[in-house]
Symmetry: C2
């Protein structure tokens, strides 16, 4: 490769936790980056909402006129680190229309408006790279889009939200309540003041949509993802999981159903300790991929944080810049497949049901019969603890069943006198 002099020029949108790290690395590692790209990478502008002094940042680079920055003639690559949907989407589409390549970590935007962005990029023959949008520093987009592109992926399971993994890990290891573990995550900066996007699974759902789109060469929208957060996970669930040799994880699950449709969901799930995902601790992320030929692969690493996310962003910037130097765009994702989405009620999983019943002869038989009527096959039953008031707790694990069938069982059980209170239902990973 010839080292040229004309720089590849980068505009950065946003100068927060990640953006400031990207700016730092562009300066600190300028010599290495120049060698790797073949030309200098030059940061020519930083779009910010408020024009305030930022330590370590040349004030001359800052501008609040982001709309103009993304179209400036002296910009080759726009790196979007502001998040949100609008005006960000407009910025990105304007940049693409003006012939800029785009690097983004904006999972919510891609999960909702990926179609518009990718189609525009194809029309303008520019790159859209987004390695940092899923699982932070872990290379997972490129492996799915390129390394495994000659294989047939059958499932992708991911721990893709570090905040919830930290909280659930604390609930297991320190027997914290959800509220206490959340408060601790917030005090450590792992959770935001408004933790909704994390604990309700919205963040993981956006990432699941992106993973499923790549794995199955289709386009999965955020709305296609069946989503359940972890706010109702309590100490009883944690204890029940441990009795079963499992840990509770918030699992993004992208699979192919028997009819060829694609099931994409995010649910708190009991994961057996022998599964590689069970060992992912703290705020770490991991993605577990199964394919016809490669078999089982796992990728793990830091799922968030300024520097790790910046590492993924820089990898994308260098790749986009190398393409610029060669005067081409890289191949985009293929999205030729239209398998359709499995309705959430038809998705099959193993389940765990926790039921409080009258401690009388015949009750278990009636519970078992109610399950059999819905084709829900019992794998194991254990009476988990006695109770003072003539009640017993049953912990039932099932073989694979549809969510609709399990819901019908629950509805029936709660209509009988045999059951006290609600029925707690959790998914269980594994065949």
């Amino acid at each position: 490769m010839t080292i040229g002099d004309a720089p590849v020029r980068v505009a950065l949108l946003g100068c927060g936790v990640v953006g400031s790290q990207v700016a730092r690395i562009l300066v600190e590692q300028a010599d290495d980056l120049r060698e790797r790209v073949g030309r200098p990478l030059e940061l020519v502008g930083i779009g910010v909402r408020r024009d305030i002094p930022r330590p370590g940042i040349d004030p001359a680079l800052l501008t609040t006129d982001v709309a103009s920055l993304v179209r400036r003639e002296d910009v080759d690559i726009v790196v979007e680190m502001v998040g949100g949907i609008e005006p960000t989407l407009t910025y990105l589409l304007d940049a693409i229309a003006a012939g800029k390549s785009v690097v983004t970590a904006n999972k919510a935007l891609l999960a909702q408006h990926g179609d518009a962005v990718f189609d525009a990029a194809r029309d303008s023959d520019v790159d859209v790279y987004y390695e940092a949008a899923v699982a932070g520093a872990i290379p997972i987009i490129r492996p799915l889009r390129e390394s495994l592109v000659g294989d047939a992926i059958t499932s992708v399971l991911g721990i893709v939200n570090g905040t919830t993994n930290y909280i659930l890990d604390q609930m297991h290891t320190r027997k914290s309540t959800f509220a206490d573990a959340l408060a601790e995550a917030q005090s450590l900066g792992y959770a935001e003041a408004d933790p909704t996007a994390d604990v309700e699974g919205y963040d993981a759902a956006a990432k699941a949509a992106i993973l499923a789109s790549l794995a199955f060469h289709t386009r999965v929208h955020l709305d296609d993802v069946d989503r359940e957060g972890i706010t109702e996970i309590d100490v009883q669930d944690i204890a029940a999981a441990e009795r079963l040799g499992c840990v509770v994880k918030l699992l993004a699950r992208c699979t192919v159903s028997a009819d060829g449709t694609v099931a994409v969901g995010v649910h708190p799930t009991m994961v057996p300790l022998e599964h590689p995902l069970a060992g992912i601790r703290g705020a770490y992320n991991a993605v577990f991929v199964e394919s016809v030929n490669a078999g089982r692969l796992m990728f793990m690493g830091p799922g968030a944080g300024g520097s790790p996310t910046a590492s993924a962003v820089l990898g994308d910037i260098v790749t986009a810049a190398r393409n610029r130097v060669r005067g081409v765009a890289g191949p985009g994702e293929s999205a030729y497949s239209t398998p359709g989405i499995t309705p959430p009620g038809a998705v099959r999983s193993r389940y765990y049901l926790s039921v409080t019943v009258r401690d009388e002869p015949g009750v278990l038989a009636r519970v078992a019969e109610a399950m059999a009527r819905q084709q829900v096959s019992i794998a194991a039953v254990r009476q988990e603890q006695g109770d003072e008031g003539g009640r017993a707790h049953l912990g039932i694990t099932t073989h694979e069943a549809t969510h609709d069938a399990v819901r019908a069982v629950v509805t029936h059980l709660m209509s009988t006198d045999d059951v006290h209170g609600g029925v707690r239902v959790l998914r269980v990973e594994g065949a």
Copy 2:
């Protein structure tokens, strides 16, 4: 992407365990591959040594005239699955000179002649992809070459040979001897009749050279790799590792030394159970990467086998074909850096020393003094077992020390009357 009709034409060299799987997938998944490439992938010829019938393979494709096949005008991509150095290297250079892109899994060839191959590919503006050369199905080449290209990698540790990992795993879990575990690996097809390349670490050393070249943007040759096999690992080593809370792994280790030079070695190493690599079982492979910004990443999966290796090869074929469709070559590796190789004796590591000494007052003091004289700092000493003949066994773990210093300690100890027999030395991973 427009789906064109003109096929991208593939010539396959070799039709063995991996080659036959590649041929199978090219046929079975032709529809999906066409969509992903944008044009059909057509297998136009298979070069073989002996012209014998091969089940499932169209005989019209087979040719023993490999030298002509690699230069045929109707070939776009040459997929090399024959292994060995010559005539394979000539085939590859001829193919590249004739403008073909190349996909190979030949780690030995790349570790010894990578310079010639990569330079030729650059001159001819064609692709050389080799994802299957290291860690089988695990995407690691592309993550190092592209995803982490904006980061500064500080170390790569790998379990990159499934045969030796299987043998060591059996020695731990079933207390097998090395000979028994090797025999079992051979009977299961995990080890070849002549296991030298695996058990003596040559295979892992070639992979280490490739990983270090990519991680540090330089060119590391097989001869630069300090290599030690596992044939001398015995049940005492395994037991000692377990007493220290470790497992023995054959570890490929690529690190940056304090003076900026690069240390690349393959050694049986005690890995603490809490390290993610300690959990890699059986014939699985894993690569553990640390970088300044991303932090700690790990990639794991099947390290060998026809289908897993074919998955990686197909990913490379699709990527090379996509580039052909676009009329470009992808960016190659950057190898601009010339840090130099740390002399093996100067590489720093923690060590474990097992010494049989006279069970007398003053002996431990003299051993400790000998170590101090060489600046080898003791982390822990335990008297591991008593002995009938007035002897004691010492298990000593050290802080980081150079290999030269440890060797000097051993030489000195063996020259004294205090020590009986040899001194067993193993590396210990961890800071």
